[in-house]
């Protein structure tokens, strides 16, 4: 018998996995442990005795990095005088009427950011040449700090990548893994950010490979992917909505080409809030996110504040999942939502429906703002994917006036529409607005 070919989506809460062999397809889902990215994945392999021939792996490196503080073996080389560029960010606060700003966590520790004497002007002319002697000085520092990966992002390198290429060559000769900024798009800060993210992903990817090698999966058979390809190009414009418990993604395809890929701000782990501290004027809001932290979602046995997923669990009748580590608490959920409903003089079900209705309207409103000119939304094909695909497909299509739609939970992983899923959160079907 041939070996399994596996496609896996490793996220913060869950690992979704699709295994195929000789026309047979199996789906698995398990909880992922917070501190080790590959835990859930290995657990499935061991438990279900899958021996994969090849593994296509998608992970959310940016989020996992923030959680696990990777990057200690990664350094950044930039133009001298601009070592603080990443830490400064764009100097803005998240709200213009908010007084507190917070810089994003430093991707690379500041003492591992090195400025090298060189300069290229805005037209690509070399103003200050790169000296090998300067590089040799850095080399000793990099070795002393036990750096393995170096990201190189220089000012105006997009205009002339000569210095970045030269540095990459010198670094590779010293056996460093190198990532350069000129291959990325955007401003100097965006390029630096992108290439450092790529650099720090190297370390966790290697760790995963090491872990998987221990259970017999060789490194050559593991492929890391950024995102899933569209599997169902229909000839018309396509709108793909990734409907996960902890994120919602939007991908647009025009003539089969991906023209936009973005995370939407609306996702089911946003908390449900009710502001009723002023007489006669209440406001029901959703957010901020509760993912990966206490509180919420209550239906998965976490905390006391409900979130959209909890409202969904009530309305679409979530059944206990077949995952032993999930503590499913329907009674606690009912109690919490009932207390909230009482504050609004409503029934629990009306409250849950109202939040879902608002969530879906805001979600579709956000989708609309991303639609570029020339994309024919009314005639496009909507494909919802992910664990909540079936639930959201119909109402989203209705709100966007899309007539061609398809909800395929395992779309990103396989073209199969089988429902033979271990550990799948089972909902009672599509919700009606």
């Amino acid at each position: 018998m041939s070996q399994w070919e596996i496609t896996a989506d490793v996220r913060e809460i869950f690992v979704d996995l699709c295994a195929t062999r000789d026309g047979e397809t199996k789906f698995f889902r398990t909880l992922n442990r917070k501190d080790v990215l590959s835990t859930g994945l290995i657990e499935i392999f061991k438990k279900d005795e899958l021996l994969p021939a090849s593994l296509k792996l998608r992970t959310d490196v940016q989020r996992v990095f923030t959680r696990e503080h990777w990057g200690e073996n990664t350094a950044l080389i930039t133009t001298e005088g601009f070592e603080d560029l990443l830490s400064i960010g764009d100097s803005t606060r998240s709200e213009s009427f908010g007084s507190i700003g917070t810089h994003p966590p430093s991707i690379i520790p500041q003492d591992q950011v090195f400025g090298i004497a060189e300069r290229i002007d805005a037209h690509g002319k070399i103003v200050r040449p790169l000296e090998k002697s300067d590089f040799d000085f850095f080399l000793s520092k990099l070795k002393l700090a036990q750096i393995k990966t170096v990201c190189v992002s220089l000012i105006n390198a997009k205009q002339n990548p000569q210095h970045e290429k030269q540095l990459a060559e010198w670094l590779k000769a010293e056996n460093f893994a190198v990532f350069t900024g000129h291959q990325r798009e955007g401003s100097e800060r965006q390029r630096t950010q992108a290439c450092t993210m790529e650099g720090i992903a190297k370390e966790p990817e290697e760790k995963i490979c090491e872990e998987l090698e221990k259970i017999g999966i060789s490194q050559e058979n593991i492929q890391f992917v950024d995102s899933w390809q569209s599997h169902a190009h229909s000839g018309s414009d396509e709108l793909h909505l990734g409907c996960y418990e902890d994120r919602t993604t939007l991908t647009l395809f025009k003539n089969g080409d991906e023209i936009l890929k973005t995370d939407l701000s609306l996702h089911p782990c946003l908390t449900l809030n009710l502001d009723n501290d002023i007489k006669n004027f209440h406001l029901a809001t959703i957010g901020p996110a509760s993912v990966g932290s206490e509180p919420g979602p209550i239906c998965l046995g976490k905390g006391i504040e409900p979130c959209i997923l909890d409202a969904l669990a009530l309305v679409a009748k979530l059944e206990p999942p077949d995952i032993s580590r999930i503590k499913f608490e329907p009674k606690k959920l009912e109690r919490t939502m009932a207390a909230m409903a009482k504050r609004m003089s409503e029934t629990t079900m009306v409250l849950a429906r109202s939040y879902l209705d608002m969530y879906l309207k805001l979600l579709t409103s956000e989708i609309r703002t991303h639609i570029p000119l020339g994309f024919e939304m009314e005639n496009c094909h909507l494909v919802t994917q992910g664990p909540l695909a079936e639930i959201f497909c119909h109402p989203v299509a209705k709100l966007l006036n899309i007539t061609k739609f398809q909800g395929n939970p395992w779309g990103p992983l396989s073209s199969s529409e089988s429902n033979n899923v271990k550990g799948h959160l089972k909902f009672g079907g599509a919700i009606e607005l």
Binding site: I88, S96, F97, L274, F281, M344, M358, S365
Partner: protein, 512 residues
């Protein structure tokens, strides 16, 4: 009641997102508004809080033209008709359904290049020196073509009529896109419900801000802040604010403030109102729907002819960038007297404003973020645009591409935040080398007066400008003036650190 609570938030968030998207690609200082046919602000979006104030007066002044016509887009940039400064162009267009005017959509586009014509050897002393003044004017003529007279007029300062035509076309397309989205939102909600929901949101914002201000005990609190100078007189320019609280009535009175000045530091009343709103809004725990209801939560007295409510044609260019920060500080100074344990220390308090003009007439605007003031519960943050300003740092590479300059370094200014139980945030420092002879108009404040520390916290280090001219270093340049720098000359802008908060806890060596 409960359904209104949900629909109101849906309308609030959706309309805000539409306005946010509308401003995409129209520059980094983004602002847009949705208004009702009477010019009342229903929803606003702005990266700089200061921009929330002018949409209502600008649109209400459109009434001077007569009824808003279907298919026409109007332009206005006159600060004395509600706007902020001449280089901010405000475009407005009506949204019609069944031939009825339902809404007005306004969007701002900032064009510093418009200051080119009057940029001479001294600071602006008259509004007309700051650019070309445009009263409410339709940008289209018959058949939807752009008004050639307007293109020609503005083209004197911009890159010519063709470049402007592209700008006008982009703006019109963006507004048309937003118009479609707003109609969709209204269809989804129902036209009748929409009217009620807007009223609901207005009342919500007004009442919620009033509720937040209940924290302030009844009484009268007064403070005076000082702008370094206006570039012409040596003494500081005073901004006196008195906050009176009586039950739910909040009154901000600027009587006693210096008269309008010769330099471009004057503010119109709309700017003053926006700065006051921002300062009072800090009492709210969350961002409230940005609509006209917020302005109903307090009363304002800004004496005519003073720096906070200047008469035409007093120059205003730096007022929106620098004076508004002193207005915020003055209101927050009053709040810190009333509720000292809840109010943070002042920020670095300047955008480090400067204008550069090359010999071939290109104009670039310079700003730099500063340190934020320490809060009663946490340290201030380093390198942020603070209070009424929040537009992102521009790309250095783009700057170098568009103007003959080179940025030599850009980083944190260490140890510039004030000390205390909580430290003020550090400022930033940036050195620029000019590649051609350049006129530099220095307008940034806080180079004389330090950002104060509160509750025994120490002051932040003031801002600094150093110039390396023909090999000679001039440190601590205090002037607000126009300098001519030659090829190879350098200028270093260092922004101020925020004030510290609370007494510093010193370790007793015996405790070790």
């Amino acid at each position: 009641m409960s359904s209104e609570a949900f629909i109101a938030e849906t309308v609030n968030q959706s309309s805000r997102k539409i306005l946010q998207q509308l401003t995409q690609g129209l520059g980094s200082r983004r602002a847009a508004a949705l208004l009702d046919p009477q010019g009342n602000l229903l929803q606003g979006f702005c990266t700089d809080g200061i921009d929330i104030g002018y949409f209502e007066p600008v649109v209400k002044n459109m009434g001077l033209l007569g009824p808003i016509k279907m298919g026409e887009t109007y332009l206005c940039n006159d600060p004395y008709l509600g706007n902020t400064r001449l280089c901010d162009l405000v475009f407005t267009r009506g949204v019609f359904q069944k031939n009825q005017l339902r809404y007005l959509i306004s969007v701002k586009v900032s064009r510093p290049q418009l200051t080119k014509l009057g940029f001479g050897d001294e600071l602006f002393t008259n509004l007309d020196a700051e650019g070309l003044r445009i009263p409410p004017t339709p940008i289209e003529v018959d058949g939807g073509k752009f008004n050639p007279d307007l293109l020609g007029y503005l083209g004197q300062a911009e890159g010519g009529p063709a470049e402007l035509e592209e700008l006008f076309s982009n703006v019109r397309n963006q507004i048309l896109w937003a118009e479609k989205q707003i109609i969709q939102l209204e269809n989804q909600t129902g036209a009748r419900s929409m009217g009620k929901i807007w009223q609901y949101l207005w009342k919500y914002s007004e009442n919620k801000l009033k509720k937040a201000m209940e924290l302030i005990p009844d009484g009268e609190y007064s403070t005076t802040e000082t702008l370094d100078h206006d570039g012409f007189q040596d003494s500081g320019v005073k901004i006196k604010c008195t906050l009176s609280i009586e039950g739910h009535h909040t009154f901000l009175n600027f009587t006693g403030t210096s008269k309008q000045v010769k330099g471009p530091y004057n503010c119109t009343e709309t700017l003053t109102a926006a700065a006051c709103l921002w300062a009072l809004h800090t009492l709210s725990r969350e961002t409230l729907p940005l609509n006209g209801g917020l302005f109903k939560a307090f009363a304002l007295e800004a004496p005519r002819g003073s720096i906070v409510n200047a008469n035409s044609p007093a120059p205003v260019f730096a007022g929106a960038f620098e004076t508004t920060k002193r207005i915020v500080d003055s209101v927050q100074g009053c709040l810190s007297q009333a509720i000292p344990n809840l109010i943070g220390s002042p920020s670095g308090g300047s955008t480090g404003l400067a204008l550069f003009k090359s010999t071939d007439g290109k104009v670039a605007l310079h700003t730099i973020a500063c340190g934020s003031g320490a809060k009663p519960y946490q340290d201030g943050q380093a390198g942020f645009y603070t209070d009424v300003h929040n537009s992102p740092e521009i790309s250095l590479e783009k700057w170098e591409k568009d103007f003959p300059l080179r940025v030599l370094d850009f980083g944190f200014r260490s140890e510039s935040g004030g000390h205390g139980l909580h430290k003020g945030g550090n400022g930033l420092t940036r050195t620029i080398e000019f590649l051609e002879e350049t006129k530099v108009m220095l307008l940034g404040d806080r180079r004389v007066n330090k950002p104060k520390g509160l509750n025994s916290g120490t002051s932040g280090t003031p801002a600094d400008v150093s110039i390396l001219r023909q090999g000679q270093l001039e440190k601590g340049f205090k002037g607000k003036s126009v300098l001519t720098l030659n090829k190879g000359d350098r200028i270093t802008f260092s922004s101020a650190g925020g004030g510290g908060w609370g007494a510093e806890v010193t370790k007793d060596p015996d405790d070790e």
